[in-house]
């Protein structure tokens, strides 16, 4: 489903060049549940951004569903994000002036879905997240866990194939974290490919496959059973 080949990404920071991704090779299959772990600055979020087409690699090839997407223009990449990829962020990124319903509706609006169809899809997503009662609430009227569930509902309302989560439990208490993890895993069991960037080792170990990153490289890529897919010295 996703194939990264020799992906490199560097940033200039204070006159110094930082290798955020250093010749990364990765294959992700449909339905995978992958956690990406590593220290701060190891390149986890950059990897997620490149996979999510939020950032462009400096070199290397990126095939998404057999299509080379790294070199596509901005608007085509936006269309792929709209149709194929859902995002869940640590800070939720909900629009404060919009209600839960309206926040969830956003991707459908961008996809030019008619209002009646939008309504039924949003209600379905709200039900799936157990948020029917909160559809008229604005973000400041909800708890962190509820906000993250709204963000997940927004990410899945377009029925994407891939869900990319950047520290989805980073701003949540343990109870809410467990709640969110359960929701994400349920979605994975429904067939969505799940990639979770996290510092949380407990969460990381729940994934069927874990990537360990450092200095922009994938140091270890192993399955839950302990099978090593690849390892770099």
């Amino acid at each position: 489903m996703i194939t990264l080949t020799q992906i490199c990404k560097t940033y200039a920071m204070g006159g110094e060049t930082i290798k955020a991704l250093d010749h990364v090779d990765l294959n992700i299959h449909k339905g995978d549940y992958i956690s990406v772990m590593g220290t701060s600055g190891s390149g986890k979020s950059t990897l997620l951004n490149v996979i999510g087409l939020l950032d462009r690699p400096d070199s290397g090839q990126y095939f998404l569903q057999q299509k080379n997407v790294a070199s596509l223009d901005d608007d085509t990449q936006a269309q792929i994000r709209r149709e194929t990829i859902g995002f869940v962020f640590q800070t939720f990124h909900l629009i404060p002036r919009l209600t839960a319903f309206e926040n969830i509706e956003l991707p459908l609006i961008l996809d030019k879905i008619p209002a009646t169809e939008r309504r039924s899809k949003v209600i379905k997503a709200l039900k799936q997240m157990g948020l029917e009662r909160y559809q008229s609430h604005r973000p400041n009227e909800m708890s962190g866990g509820q906000m993250q569930r709204v963000a997940i509902a927004r990410a899945i309302v377009n029925e994407p194939n891939i869900l990319l989560c950047d520290e989805p439990t980073g701003n949540l208490d343990s109870h809410s974290s467990a709640d969110v993890i359960a929701v994400l895993e349920a979605l994975n069991q429904q067939g969505i490919t799940l990639l979770v960037v996290t510092h949380d080792a407990k969460l990381g170990k729940r994934a069927t496959r874990s990537l360990w990153m450092d200095d922009g490289q994938i140091l270890k890529d192993e399955t839950q059973s302990g099978a090593l897919i690849s390892a770099h010295p």
Binding site: D55, D74, Q79, R81, R97, L106, L110, R154
Partner: protein, 404 residues
């Protein structure tokens, strides 16, 4: 994003910043109001002049002595004096077909005294020497008494018609008709008093006296006419009559064409053109305030883009195209411009309504194109001045925008 969703989303964003939105919209409103009001003043002046000219009578020719022309060679040292127009010239014009009324006019100022009252009152006013035809030609109507009799066409009869203000100044509330006045010491009997009427192109018709043209000729000791006013038949050809008049006068002026004929319609048309141009010019000058409002829109758009970077990043992450992002910000500016423009038009028409009540004689009214033009300029400013900030938003990389 569908257009309706775009409009709704933009409006929702503006509601979030009510004060800021109101202030920018208000600046647009001031611009639109000033365009409407200033063009209304110009249009009011145009209508006023047109109405005043029309009240002088339509299908009117004004014949004056002298002619402006270009000649070759050195200019004459002493110049040439044109032959004066006389009452005889005026009488001859009756031979020209298509003329309805002719009024020769001698004008001057004289001291008018009320000689029949125990309290002597005097006033220096304009004296017009003419014939009874001046009444229909200038649209003068009588409030009291009669107009000049037919014999005033040829004889120096001591009869006068007073303007209403002059009558009031000389006679107060007493009846004036039949009373005697002195015009530069000569006695005239008051035949009539003009009906109340306002000023006409600076000439206060209420404060003057009309006497027979022959009497005025004796009074001012001149045969020279100030003007000959000619009213044409409704379907007469103005150009043909002009040629006939020139031909007839030339025959009696040793073959010289030494008169100038002005047409009421051509003067009116020229004035109309000049005042219309003035109105447009004033409108364009006042539209500068809309440019200032446009700069404010640009400034606010830049602030909005800066404050909503995270939201731009989110929308891009959710799949918004660059055009969608751009349209979102441009439509916000258009919303503000539209609201400001509508408020501005409403405010302008309200002020014009009040002004109409306060000054009923002045036909102040915005030209029909003023409001659409002001709204169009306001909307164009909104579009143009929000373009660059919106482009900046559209070009933001999603990953950078998401960081806020």
């Amino acid at each position: 994003m569908r257009t309706l969703d775009l409009i709704r989303f933009s409006f929702n964003t503006l509601l979030r910043h009510r004060l800021r939105t109101f202030l920018v919209a208000f600046s647009v409103a001031i611009g639109v109001t000033s365009v409407c009001l200033l063009t209304a003043l110009g249009e009011g002046a145009r209508r006023y002049v047109v109405t005043e000219f029309s009240s002088l009578g339509s299908h009117l020719l004004i014949v004056m002595s002298g002619r402006t022309e270009t000649t070759g060679g050195m200019p004459p040292i002493y110049g040439t004096t044109p032959r004066d127009l006389t009452v005889e010239d005026s009488s001859r014009l009756h031979r020209v077909a298509g003329i309805k009324n002719i009024a020769p006019v001698i004008a001057g100022t004289s001291l008018i005294e009320n000689s029949s009252s125990s309290i002597s009152r005097s006033r220096e006013v304009i004296v017009l020497g003419s014939t009874p035809a001046i009444f229909p030609i200038r649209g003068l109507t009588l409030g009291q008494g009669r107009q000049l009799p037919a014999m005033a066409n040829t004889k120096a009869t001591p009869l006068a018609v007073l303007g209403s203000k002059l009558k009031h100044e000389l006679f107060g509330s007493q009846a004036a008709v039949g009373q005697w006045i002195r015009v530069d010491g000569r006695k005239f009997r008051v035949e009539g008093v003009l009906a109340e009427r306002g000023q006409s192109l600076g000439l206060d018709l209420r404060d003057m006296v009309i006497i027979p043209v022959q009497s005025a000729s004796q009074l001012f000791n001149t045969q020279a006419l100030f003007r000959i006013l000619i009213e044409l038949d409704q379907y007469a050809s103005e150009d043909k009559i002009k040629l006939d008049i020139i031909k007839l006068i030339s025959e009696h002026h040793q073959g010289h064409n030494d008169i100038t004929i002005l047409s009421q319609d051509s003067i009116l048309s020229s004035l109309n053109e000049v005042l219309s141009l003035l109105t447009v010019s004033v409108g364009m000058i006042s539209a500068i305030s809309l440019l200032v409002a446009g700069v404010l829109i640009m400034n606010i758009s830049l602030i909005t883009v800066s404050q909503h970077r995270e939201e731009i990043g989110l929308l891009k992450a959710l799949g918004a195209s660059s055009n969608t992002i751009m349209a979102l910000f441009v439509s916000q500016a258009l919303w503000v411009a539209a609201m400001g423009a509508m408020f501005g038009v409403f405010l302008a028409y309200f002020i014009l309504y009040v002004a109409g009540l306060l000054f009923p004689d002045f036909p102040i009214q915005a030209p029909i194109w003023a409001a659409p033009a002001a709204v169009s300029v306001a909307m164009s400013c909104g579009l143009i001045f929000s373009w660059w900030p919106s482009k900046q938003a559209a070009l933001l990389a999603p990953v950078i925008a998401l960081r806020g």
